[in-house]
Amino acid sequence: MFKWLRAGGTGLDEVEETFADMLSDDRHVFDLAMSARVGGAEPATVAEALNRTEERTDEAERRIRRLVLVHASVHGASDIPACLMYMSIAKDAERIADLSKNLFGIADTVGVAPDGEARDDLVRLRDKISPMISEAARLFVDDDRAAAEAFIETARDLQEHCHRQIDTLLRDQDEVPQAAATVLTYRHLSRIVANLLNIVSAVVMPLDRLDYPGEDEPSED
């Protein structure tokens, strides 16, 4: 009955656990969505699991908000930077699942995967991004700054690649429907990577610069 009196840890430990679970769910949603988009899976076969997992990330974000609020109420100002950061990155994690669901939406609507080079490129991106979601969780928990810097570098390269592909496809006059779908796919992939980047930027960036990792740090004077 009085287990809560003896148990260790604060609400922020629970926040961290919930956040790690969220990223794990994010990866699952992403993998299911991409399996439908480029992996040949029938959308109907993955829809239920995908929706269920995505809803779990929504609930996890709400849970993190509640935990953070209770923590801030009990502990006062001492953990405010951490509280604000968790609110911010929980949103990012929720967006990853949301955007992955949008990717699934494209697969569900368009039906067929792109051919040839575009397909190969998307498969390559899937294979890179999927482990990055788990890696983001690991980096966050381990507070590994060196690996986080390398992660951010990779994420920026992937974003640039997606943007280049978008530009190329938008200039392409052939096969407009597939081009539009592929553009959207790249767009969402880019956003997913951007949100991962935001999460990991919390390892190296001050609170006020979260979500803006590309901008130069203001000078001290």
Partner: protein, 384 residues
């Protein structure tokens, strides 16, 4: 999981280590001892000032409304019902106040203590919806306490039922008729108080000046130790408090009462425990219905201070007034909580009050000044 100063920027874990916890528990014991010595000195000091002085000081408190008003005002000024109730226990123990006269003052302390969370709710006054919830959350405690007084004070004045029940209960641990109560800590407390009394007598010659010094020292110790206990326990109990509050989110009922009582016993302050709820209610994370039992539990938990204070008093009257405090709060809960129709009354009243406050912000100021200052002051002035 994450180290301090890592990505989270978290302060070192507030969950204190074993050694620090042991130090803080040791500190708590020292503070509790000083608190009990303070209660003893307060009684000795005021008794030493003579009957003429105490009669003048407490003239009019025989009137229940005046006693109620004194309880409200003293608690508003001290911002702590624990200070007021411990002082009342000391005064009753010293024979300066009778249990009968002190009952309305104890009830007043219950009302006065709610000013703190009402003021805490004003923090969100710029955001109407947040403020509506926060103000309702704060004033539901006011309405519950006022309603309990409205019902129980007249009954007590006519029948003296709470005082009589307290006498019966006190007979279980002491000699209710002989007026003595030997608590296990009394000898130790009196030894400490004796040292201070001897020092005061040696420092200042005239007995009345020495008594005034003892009174001031007693009050200072009482106030200072309670503040220090609250601060110390807030650190020690932060983790369990957070876990228990997380447990009551989305739940209602007896668990909430238990959490509110334990939280308040831990930090020795219902003002702190009820004020903790306000940001959660304001944000909509904690529903009014779920916060309500926690608030009622806080009313129960806060009675521990008077019971602790009674340990320092050799006269059983001190224990009896502390038991009245417990019985009053327990009866209030038993009247309002089990019956859904009555349970909802304070909630409805506080929601209406919050609507009024949002529509007209000056209402908040009027309400606070009227309930916590003008009314009690007016009653005192009229009665005296």
């Amino acid at each position: 999981m994450t180290t301090a100063g890592g990505p989270t920027g978290r302060a070192p874990s507030p969950e204190v280590s074993g050694v620090i916890r042991a130090v803080r528990v040791g500190l708590l014991l020292v503070l509790l001892y000083a608190f009990l010595v303070g209660v003893d000195l307060l009684g000795t000091g005021i008794a030493g000032l003579g009957e003429e002085f105490t009669d003048r000081l407490f003239r009019g408190v025989g009137n229940p409304l005046a006693g109620l008003a004194v309880g409200i005002l003293a608690t508003v000024l001290a911002q702590s019902s624990s200070v007021t109730t411990a002082t009342i226990v000391g005064l009753v123990g010293a024979g300066v106040l009778s249990v009968h006269d002190a009952v309305p003052m104890i009830m007043g302390a219950n009302i006065g203590t709610t000013v703190t969370n009402t003021l805490a709710s004003v923090g969100s006054i710029r955001r109407p919806e947040e403020f509506r919830r926060a103000f309702a959350g704060a004033t539901m405690h006011d309405f519950f306490n006022v309603a309990s007084v409205v019902i129980l004070l007249p009954i007590e004045v006519v029948t003296g039922v709470l005082a009589r029940l307290a006498v019966e209960l006190s007979d279980l641990v002491g000699d209710a008729s002989g007026g003595e109560f030997n608590s296990p800590v009394q000898e130790g407390v009196q030894a400490g108080a004796g040292v201070v009394e001897s020092a005061a007598a040696a420092l200042v010659g005239p007995p009345r000046v020495a008594a005034a010094l003892l009174l001031a020292t007693g009050l200072g110790l009482l106030f200072g130790t309670l503040v220090a206990i609250t601060k110390n326990m807030r650190v020690v109990m932060a983790g369990p408090a957070e876990r228990s509050l997380n447990a009551v989110l989305g739940r209602s009922g007896v668990l909430g009462i238990l959490v509110g009582a334990l939280l308040t016993v831990s930090v020795q302050s219902s003002s702190i425990s009820t004020s903790l709820l306000i940001p959660m209610i304001a944000a909509g994370v904690l529903r009014l219905e779920n916060a309500y039992p926690v608030t009622l539990g806080a009313n129960l938990g806060t009675t521990i201070t008077a019971l602790l204070a009674a340990l320092a008093i050799p006269q059983i009257a001190g224990l009896q007034i502390a038991l009245v405090h417990l019985l009053f709060n327990l009866t209030g809960i038993l009247i309002f909580y089990p019956i859904p129709l009555l349970r909802r009354l304070p909630l409805r009243a506080s929601r209406k009050m919050a609507d009024l406050a949002v529509a007209r912000r000056t209402m908040v100021l009027v309400y606070v000044i009227l309930l916590f200052l003008v009314l009690p002051l007016g009653v005192i002035v009229i009665v005296r």
